[in-house]
Symmetry: C2
Subunit: 315 residues, 2 copies
């Protein structure tokens, strides 16, 4: 697969930069970098070398020489550009919220519902950076005991809001740092909270699962954490849950997960697994994940590799 | 009451500094500052002037010339010194965890259970900095609908760990900032989590209330926040809860509370009041409070003023 023709769209952003790093590390050699007009003409690092940044125009993306297009751009840019890449014959793996809930668009976390990736009609959606680690942890627990309800509060790093917000945090005096809820509002929730609910339901195929989330941005550069309370149909002890999570793909059980510990690792760290003293058949736990890596770029590449493996077998 | 003879023990610490500021602001004139041997002999600001820092020896505290002693020292120092102040005739208002759960020691949030302050035998305990704002918010909701269970995740600033941790945060490069759980462990919980449960139960006089807490330190200088899910016996709409909280003492309803917004204010900020979509008769909400002020120093002074008012009426 290292000869797959892959386009990275949004190559100069926080997620795009990590995507290029992972592709180079995995030995891909036919990678092209696309970005907005502002960044086009420059270069981005790629392995030991660099790539010319091409402008992400509808024409360039539709030209027909990409097998896969990994999009890490904003929702409106994805809405505009993704259809052109698909028209050109590429399968688009899109990180934005543009297509995640559309019927016919698989929303995929490979460890949770990887088989769904193959049901695409040109687009596979990459979930929200909080939903990916959450479903990696919940899947084995749900399979064992049946998830009944979910409460989640998040501790999200500023890199989730993009490279410019990272620079702003670095420039801001420490005494000014605050918690924020810097999302748009969707009724009485942030759109991040409603995404977390609707995406978790779609990925877990639990369309009615009761979920309440509180999403909070914290002054940490990279790495998202989540405090989770999950109630189950059947009793599930912390010991049983720990065993299941030790065996789960892409999950690593640690004592006390933290964003810094998770940063630049591929795993979802989970710990603090204990009974939920406020509910029946419940567990409380804490998780952390590199939001740019498994929470975004790595998950997209894993989706891409599922698709490539199937295409190559079929070809 | 401005002529009350008040000793502030731990006068050079984060909470002690705020305590002196509040006492000066309220017009108290007979205030003495005590600290450990290391700080004794120096001076601390007090209003427009300053106070000599006296060494907090058993003899000095027992000498009999204090009506009230406000302790903001560590738990072991409180265990050692508080009894001497009481022996000397002072009522001790103690911020440490040393006496909070002892029978015969009232644990008081004036807005919640102020009457209990008068049942003391020399010591009144000042609750944990997360418990104070939490009970201020829960009390009116419990009175209306009957609290049935509670889940809380915290976002606690480093000032809760003392002045030296604040300096360390200011000196640490931004990229190093992390979330931590820098407490001691009490079984499968931090002692902060078990304190939050046992203190909330004692203050609310709900000895069996199911409570699950996850306590997290965030790289913010001042101000604690909490994401709360509360279930009630009776239905309670967000609108009803908002009305109750608007009328509650020391509580201010805002759209999105944040630590920075709460810092240096006297109020507990509460917002994001919405249905708990994961439970029956439940509400989700978010609160923020200045952990050094209402979360510590101000609450102690309010307790002191309850006691002084009663003493003066009785005298």
């Amino acid at each position: 697969m290292p000869d797959a023709r892959i386009g990275v769209v949004g190559a100069t952003g926080a997620v795009g930069t990590v995507t290029l790093g992972l592709l180079a590390q995995r030995g891909y050699t036919r990678v092209r970098a696309f970005a907005s007009e502002r960044s086009a003409g420059g270069h981005v690092p790629f392995g030991a070398g660099e790539l010319l940044v091409e402008e992400a125009t509808p024409e360039a993306l539709a030209a027909g020489d990409l097998e896969l297009a990994l999009f890490s751009v904003g929702t409106s840019a994805s809405r505009e550009l993704v259809p052109h890449a698909v028209r050109g014959g590429a399968v688009a793996v899109d990180k934005s919220a543009a297509y995640r809930l559309e019927p016919g668009v698989p929303l995929v976390v490979p460890e949770v519902n990887g088989e769904r990736a193959h049901e695409h009609e040109g687009i596979v959606a990459n979930p929200n950076c909080c939903t990916i680690p959450l479903t990696c942890v919940l899947k084995p627990l749900h399979d064992a005991a049946g998830l009944r309800s979910l409460r989640v509060s998040t501790y999200q790093s500023v890199s989730g809001a993009g490279a410019r917000r990272m620079e702003a945090l670095l420039a801001e005096p420490q005494a000014e740092h605050d918690l924020t809820m810097d999302w748009t509002w969707d009724g009485d929730e942030t759109d991040e909270e409603s995404k977390l609910r609707s995406e978790t339901r779609k990925i877990m195929e639990l369309t009615e699962l009761p979920i309440s989330a509180t999403t909070v941005r914290v002054p940490v550069l990279v790495g998202h954490a989540e405090a989770v309370w999950a109630e189950f149909e059947e009793p599930l002890s912390p010991e049983q849950a720990t065993e299941l999570l030790r065996a789960a793909p892409s999950v690593r059980v640690v004592d006390v997960p933290s964003p810094k510990q998770a940063a630049q690792t591929d795993d979802v760290l989970v710990g603090r697994i204990r009974p939920d003293r406020a509910g029946e058949n419940g567990l409380a736990l804490f998780l952390a994940c590199d939001n740019l890596n498994k929470g975004a770029a790595l998950n997209a590449i894993q989706i891409a590799e599922l698709l490539l493996a199937r295409q190559r077998v079929a070809a």
